[in-house]
Amino acid sequence: MAESAYSFSLTTFSPSGKLVQIEHALNAVNQGATSLGIKARDGVVIATEKKLPSVLVDKDSVKKIVQLTPEIGVIYSGMGPDSRILVRKARKAAQTYFMTYNERIPVAQLVREVATVMQEFTQSGGVRPFGVSLLIAGYDSHGPQLYQADPSGTFFAWKASAIGKNMTDAKEFLEKRYAEDMLLEDAIGAALLTLKEGFEGAMDEDNIEVGIVGKDHEFRCLSKSEIKDYLEEIL
């Protein structure tokens, strides 16, 4: 197929105008565990499946949801190690901003920095695109925000979104359940229900992670007992 002749070099367009490596990177993302996020009126929630390869893995040492600044957190779908690089760069960008302006970086600007890095890796020699999509949740002076950043470097703001294995079904589910005036409490419930839809096996507080940021501008992960309480409420 003519397309495959152009898939060796990242920085070469195919005749149909695609950068085939980026398409492949998106495939890598779609093989990753499902993650989703919902923006409520008074906060944002992000959640993900924590599917570990074996029961021997020390569950508590694995943290997929990560804090970038006191008010911004991120979850990924795709290749974990790739996301670690982006987290490092994002955290540094946030602190550089703080050193310059003595103020916290607005969510949109941090997302732009990360997305710019992702784009650079689609137009440089000797590198490959990142095999992750990120969902970035934050609360700044412009209110609660949820952004998605893709391997191509595109980023969008969402009211609710899902990435990874089950994204199509999850997004359909979210479309039905999302309401403009949702409160954070409702959004957490909706997020858990959406995760459960595509979950293989039983979902409990050990195999999912949930992160929230509310009006207090403090991003944090829900503890296992909090997740357990929410699960009991919705199930």
Binding site: M99, T100, Y101, N102, E103, P106, A108, Q109, H142
Partner: protein, 192 residues
């Protein structure tokens, strides 16, 4: 000698600068405006070496404008003051900028602020601040006169008294001065 004084009042910040541009012993201009607006609600008054004064304040203004264009929201007064401090600090051990600045601004929600910066990258948020020999007389005057609920009229009167004192006691006092104020409505010049 160059004279810069700033007063922060209730909901406004006022800055006064001498309006002379001097080269050695010659007064080149009597109407030099040393207070540069950075956007609609922040202004910077500079004193120091003639070249550095203008170049550096215009550099800060350009960066503030670029930020606003890139990010569709402007920098707060605090952010501008801290950015300027960072630039002065970096320049200090490379090619120091001989400029002393007062950054005065009004931000919705926070109110008025006045920041003192000097060529060594000192940064202080203050109620009254100033540079130049004239400030030696006037700072202590203002220490007695300032109070937290200062009105615009009171601040303007303080500025007039400060200028009077400088003309009275300083051997090389400037004959002309510029006064500008920034409040929730933006920046405006006040004729003395």
């Amino acid at each position: 000698m160059e004279y810069v004084m700033g007063i922060k009042g209730k909901g406004f910040a006022m800055v006064c600068t001498s309006a002379t541009a001097v080269q050695q012993i010659i007064t080149m201009k009597h109407d030099e405006d040393k207070i540069l607006p950075l956007g609609t609600h922040t202004m910077v008054a500079t004193s120091g070496e003639p070249g550095d004064r203008v170049q550096f304040s215009e550099f800060v203004a350009a960066n503030a404008r670029l930020y606003a264009l890139r990010n569709k929201s402007k920098l707060s007064t605090k952010a501008i003051a801290n950015f300027t401090r960072g630039e002065l600090a970096t320049a200090l051990r490379k090619g120091p900028k001989s400029a002393n600045l007062l950054v005065a601004g009004y931000d919705k929600g926070k109110g008025a602020s006045l920041y003192f910066l000097d060529y060594l990258a000192t940064l202080h948020s203050m109620n009254i601040a100033g540079y130049g020999y004239g400030s030696w007389f006037v700072l202590s005057m203002y220490d007695r006169m300032w109070h937290p609920d200062l009105t615009e009229a009171e601040a303007l009167e303080m500025m007039r008294l400060g200028i009077e004192e400088v003309k009275n006691r300083l051997v090389v006092a400037s004959p002309t001065y510029t006064v500008k104020i920034v409040d929730e409505n933006g920046i405006r010049t006040i004729p003395l």
